[in-house]
Symmetry: C2
Subunit: 202 residues, 2 copies
DNA sequence: ACTATGGTGGACTGTGCAGTCCATTTTCGG
DNA sequence: CCGAAAATGGACTGCACAGTCCACCATAGT
């Protein structure tokens, strides 16, 4: 064998990552044990440490990367093409739907505060996710400006940062209270204010 | 002795709670051990379980309550008297200052996702904190309306919810990235949009 | 002073969990 | 086929940590 991993090996590895992600969402990164993950993925200790020699931390980083990619992917195709108010509304709906379905189990939320603090790897992943997310929002705002739907003096980056914070906060509150009212309020208000910024200047 | 706790006892109890709070902020609720707390507060196992018979969970709930009270207290006197735009700006400054000083250690953040999920007690505390916080913001908006600085058709509750989400998100991002730019953007944008809502309608 | 109750210290225990190790089976190149 | 490398299963180890237990000290009421 030349490569490090055979097809079977790769399949097992991804099975572990995806299964671990599910378990972590359900139980939180703190209380989820390797045995939980093994049981849920029908694998053994041997396999887990075969694919993740550094143990739990390495696995958690892999899961974090997987979840981070997932977050943005779930918002497509809307997030990538926010060039009209309709697109923004649709995107809003997707975000709310996604997080409402998720309920109080957040893929990154647990990693956010638990591993993110300790291992620099996860922290970098979260930072990159936030950055890409914000960039997409800023790009959307600029598209609105290009389309003449929004005046040029609106600061796309600051607006995007505020919107991102609003979403994060809404999700955060959803996680602690189980209610999505704040996420809705934050998104609705954010988009509405963006619109108002357009009308006010025009 | 009549009461359950003597003066000395009460002093020790609060020493444990406050010391535990410090340790939890520093290490996170997951990785902080009872021994850490004991070392930091110069107490012994015997004392800890004397004052918190149910063990770690009970202590964590006490810490959560303590921290929650602290959060709102730190924002006084501004939060209690948001009757002018100046008051809002000052409040904004206090919030940013507080969380910037805190850096990436959040008192409730760790409890938010870690204990809040598992024990219903902590969850209730967080929910109550958010509720009181939001009520204060809503009250402030209504004071602006009463003072004629804001039109009556602004929905105080939705605005307050959005603002609260913005703050939470800003703090959340501050925790994961170490940068306060989003918190600033969220607060500035939130207050600015509130002002704009006033001007637009008038 | 003495005695009951509360406060304090720390050794001890049990367990849950990450991580190790090796024996066995499967896969793949030649 | 056959040998080597990869994949798999699971018993075993060690330890960190929550929680127990009990012996000793301090204080307050009579």
């Amino acid at each position: 064998m030349r490569g490090e991993l055979t097809a079977k090996g790769r399949a097992t590895r991804t099975r572990i990552v995806e299964g671990a992600a599910a378990v972590l969402r359900e139980k939180g990164a703190a209380s989820a044990t390797l045995d939980d993950i093994l049981a849920h993925t029908s694998t053994s200790k041997g396999q887990l440490f075969h694919y993740f020699p550094a143990g739990k931390d390495e696995l958690l980083v892999a899961v974090a990367q997987f979840e981070a990619d997932q977050v943005l992917e779930d918002q497509q195709p809307y997030l990538g093409c926010l060039d009209s108010w309709e697109a923004w509304e649709q995107w809003r709906d997707v975000v709310i739907k996604r997080y409402e379905a998720q309920g109080d189990q957040c893929p990154l939320g647990s990693l956010f505060l638990q591993i993110g603090r300790s291992t620099p790897g996860t922290r970098a992943i979260v930072i990159e996710l936030l950055h890409r997310w914000q960039e997409s929002l800023a790009a959307g705002i600029r598209e609105l400006q290009a389309a003449g739907l929004l005046p040029a003096d609106v600061d796309a980056d600051v607006r995007a940062a505020a919107l991102l914070a609003a979403i994060q906060g809404g999700v955060s509150i959803l996680l602690s209270t189980g209610r999505s009212t704040h996420l809705r309020a934050a998104l609705d208000q954010g988009i509405e204010d963006l619109r108002r910024a357009g009308r006010a200047a025009v």
